[in-house]
């Protein structure tokens, strides 16, 4: 058994930012992650981080408005105001820690344009901003000697007397299951992209954090809002940064036409992601694609710009699509990228389960609502990661450690043993996961309808039943990845069910949730959040109002 004041589950940007903040507030903090921190999926964020720097004549209210309009008015405006107001100081803090942000002629932080925003306010490091920030935060973690439970897999949250007071986790290296007690727990375990096949997300993005909180009694919110990124490679679903369009790249169809002219005449390629993805899918469906793709055209940008600002994606295009970006258009298509929804939290990052906080993609505060703007995700991780760390530290200072014992892990040990003991004939996790991914990507994609979503619900039920009999051929203790993937699949099925149920519930089209059978936004009935919690028998669905501070919903035109 291990004791800490604050534990943080997940070591991406939100988790490490939270760790730094908790540490600065004078408590003992530890980070638990199923991979080494620098392997976290934050490193895949390419394009940049948004911040309106007031001293440069970009008021934060403009950034807030762009974010709210981008969210299709589903974001909670109090949370958006906080995020946009605190953005500048977070970016400067990262610069002071050592992030090598790109500079302008005068040596100040340089910006690039990004989708859905009327002002260039995206700060960046070439096209590997997330990686550059993740490395720097890990440097700070090393400097502060924060304990990292590296390659530990969290199996459950411990709840006693209605409060979260720790976690049960397996050391993947030894296979041993341990209790880690804490006075406050911050969930920062990232997204669930692997529910969809293909996805831009790394193989580790299996919704563990959302499912852990859900199983512990915390509600999930806005789960129907799944972002499809407009530019992903066909071969492996790899992400081609929005930075390319920010630097001026075009989207063209099979006829060489810049089709965004017909969908978003003023913002063109830089309209919100849901808008661009729908436009692309419409072009493809109407026969103006090639092999299920349209094209990202960077030819006019020139080799120098590509080398300096888009080096990573030009490598990706070369390695995975066999295309020289400076000479040929790259075939791309919309691909699942981000979950706007997550564990419901308030603006102080507290979930409805006392003792449990949430930040980053795993959480839903909700600053992204129906559609997240590019380069707002990194900002979300930093602002709410820091707030989470501060809040959790304050709680930890006021409370004693709970008196739970090592036996709190007995249940998880038994579940794992039962899984390993199953014998004969059952299937491995792989096929179930693949069928889940294909189902979600088919029925819960850019366009949805009642019939498709009902089919998906039936399918998740069938997969759940098969999962209850799944086999784990690897019986070893050391680094048993076979067991880990099987456990992850359980988390994925919980998340999938919450997505499908929320999507069926929302009887309108808003943001990323676009129904071909109900095409209009309906502010009278559906300007509200949908929450799913684990009920006694069936999941329970509730609604909650959207917080409107100063921006009344308007028609959304780009």
């Amino acid at each position: 058994m291990f004791d800490h004041d604050v534990i943080i589950i997940g070591a991406g940007l939100a988790g490490m930012r939270a760790a730094m903040a908790a540490r600065e507030n004078g408590v003992d903090v530890a980070v638990i992650s199923k991979v080494h921190p620098v392997r976290s999926h934050s490193n895949a964020a390419q394009g940049g981080i948004n911040a309106a720097l007031t001293e440069r004549g970009d008021p934060w209210e403009e950034h807030a408005f762009d974010t709210i309009k981008g969210s299709d008015y589903l974001a909670d405006q109090d949370a958006v105001e906080i995020m946009c107001r605190e953005a500048g100081s977070e970016v400067i803090a990262m610069e002071h820690m050592g992030v090598i942000f790109s500079r302008d002629e005068a040596g100040r932080l340089g910006t690039r344009a990004f989708g859905g925003q009327r002002h260039a306010r995206t700060f960046f490091v070439a096209d590997f901003t997330g990686q550059a920030m993740l490395q720097v935060l890990y440097e700070q973690i090393m400097k502060a000697s924060v304990r990292v439970y590296e390659e530990w897999f969290v199996l459950s949250l411990i709840v006693e007397d209605g409060e979260c007071c720790g976690a049960v986790a397996m050391d993947i290296r030894s296979g041993e299951v341990h209790v880690i007690r804490a006075k406050a727990v911050i969930m920062a375990a990232g997204g669930l992209g692997r529910l969809f096949e293909p996805s831009t997300n790394a193989l580790i993005c299996t919704g563990d954090g959302m499912a852990l909180a859900y199983r512990a009694g915390a509600p999930l919110m806005d789960m129907e809002m799944v972002q499809y990124h407009p530019t992903t490679l066909k071969s492996n679903g790899a992400l081609m940064s929005e930075g390319a369009r920010g630097e001026g790249a075009y989207l063209i169809n099979s006829e060489g036409e810049r089709f965004m002219e017909r969908y978003a005449p003023s913002m063109m390629e830089l309209a919100s992601r849901d808008v661009v993805s729908r436009a692309e899918q419409t072009e493809i469906n109407d026969g103006r694609g090639v092999d299920g793709c349209v094209f990202l055209d960077c030819r006019h940008l020139g080799e120098k710009l590509i080398k300096e600002k888009l080096s990573q994606i030009s490598e990706l295009a070369r390695d995975f699509a066999n295309v020289d970006m400076a000479r040929e258009p790259v075939p791309i298509r919309p691909g699942m990228h981000y979950q706007m929804g997550g564990i419901k939290t308030d603006v102080q990052t507290l979930t409805p389960l006392p003792g449990l906080y949430g930040a980053g993609e795993v959480a839903c505060v909700s600053v992204h609502g129906g559609n997240r703007l590019g380069a707002n995700s990194l900002l979300d991780t930093l602002v709410f990661g820091r707030r989470g760390g501060e809040q959790a530290a304050e709680r930890a200072k006021k409370r004693p450690q709970s008196n739970i014992t090592e036996s709190a892990a007995d249940m998880e040990r038994a579940v794992i043993q039962e899984m390993l003991d199953r014998d004969g004939g059952g299937e491995m996790f792989g096929k179930i996961r693949l069928e889940l991914g294909q189902t979600m990507n088919y029925h819960l994609a850019v366009f949805r309808d009642q019939q498709g979503m009902e089919l998906a619900l039936a399918k998740t039920g069938e997969l759940r039943e098969r999962y209850s009999r799944v086999m784990v051929p690897d019986k070893g203790k050391t680094f048993n990845t076979n067991l880990i993937f099987t456990l992850e699949l359980g988390f994925m099925l919980d998340c999938a069910e919450s997505i499908v149920l929320s999507a069926l519930e929302r009887k309108e089209s808003r943001g990323a949730h676009n129904r071909t059978d109900i095409t209009d936004r309906d502010d009278n009935n559906w300007l509200k959040h949908i929450l799913v919690s684990q009920g006694l028998e069936e999941p329970a669905i509730e609604h909650s109002p959207v917080v409107i501070t100063r921006w009344e919903p308007q028609a959304r035109v780009y």
Partner: protein, 318 residues
């Protein structure tokens, strides 16, 4: 296409664990990567195979391993390119210079211990500016080349010095050190260079180029180590064996167009370094007996003006 992967395996959970090779034959797409093949094995053929992987796009640094004897990322190595002679088995082994945990999974502790040893965080002792630091974009672009490092360990795996001297900081940690020494915002260059000049530091690289060859992100670790040597000498750290060797080498070539093999070791070690001079004596005697003693009078190469002009040009470019 059909392909055979010959995977080096190791299961620590059995009695008397020992490494062995296991062949897997499978069908993959023509465009598949070695990682796709390994994932297919562990998900469809043999669930006990252990490896690390995550992003599939050469960003997370998880899947460095030896493929046909050379460290690479499995996720950006195409099966079609890796099949030896068009039809042989692709040999897949864990990365080198780190202890194996299971199959293709190694213990990265030695890797991270060395990264940590160079104190890899920005040290800024003065007062912080109110806004951002004002620095040139060029200086940041130079650092971006190193920050592109994904800590995959390919360079460490195939470093020929680490193979014989585990005390060497190694290419990844030294490249990371360069990132701070070359950062105009860091105020601790002097102290850092002093540390890097010690045993295990920049002078222990043998310039074998392996790290440059295997780096999947073109970080050029060896180039960064050479740049650190230059910076160390410029900063006045010129009393080490390596620095003296470099200085004497340069001096000879500038004066005569070639190395004076008789004086190079003496000047490198320092003529007043009695212990080292006594160690050199038997080498000299053996060379003399076998008729391999370099000439006592060192003559210039013909065309010395050309050599001098090269030096003048190089001097101007600094």
């Amino acid at each position: 296409m059909d392909v055979t992967l010959n995977v080096k395996r190791f299961d620590p959970d059995v009695d008397q664990p020992a490494p062995y090779y296991q062949e897997y034959s499978l069908e993959v797409e023509d465009s598949s990567t070695v990682l796709d093949g390994l994932i297919k094995i562990r998900e469809e053929i043999d669930g006990t195979l252990a490896l690390r992987c995550s992003c599939r796009s050469a960003i997370c640094g998880s899947c460095a391993m030896r493929i046909n004897g050379q460290a690479r990322l499995a996720c950006n190595t195409k099966v079609a390119d890796a099949v030896p002679n068009g039809n042989g088995a692709i040999v897949v082994e864990p990365p080198g210079n780190m202890p194996v945990v299971k199959d293709l999974v190694v213990d990265f502790k030695p890797f991270w211990d060395k990264i940590r040893a160079v104190e890899p965080w920005l040290q800024h002792m003065g007062t912080k500016p109110q806004h951002e630091h004002i620095v040139t974009n060029e200086s940041m672009l130079d650092l971006a080349g190193v920050m592109d490092c994904i800590m995959c360990g390919a360079c460490v795996s195939d470093c020929t010095v680490l193979e014989v001297d585990s005390n060497f900081l190694g290419p990844a940690a030294l490249a990371k050190a360069y990132r701070f020494v070359a950062d105009p915002r860091d105020s601790e260059h002097g102290w850092r260079l002093g540390e890097l000049n010690e045993y295990g530091g920049v002078w222990d690289c043998t310039r074998c180029m392996q790290c440059v060859e295997v780096c999947p992100k073109d970080v050029d670790p060896m180039g960064r180590i050479m740049a650190l040597r230059d910076k160390a000498m410029e900063a006045g750290y010129n009393r080490t064996y390596g620095a003296r060797h470099a200085a004497a080498f340069t001096k000879h070539v500038e004066h005569s167009g070639r190395v004076d093999e008789l004086r190079l070791p003496i000047e490198s070690k320092g003529i007043f370094n009695i212990v080292e001079m006594l160690k050199l004596a038997p080498v000299g005697i053996r060379a003399l007996l076998r008729g391999k003693m370099p000439p006592i009078i060192h003559k210039s190469n013909p065309g010395m003006d050309h050599v001098r002009r090269i030096f003048e040009k190089a001097e101007k470019r600094r």
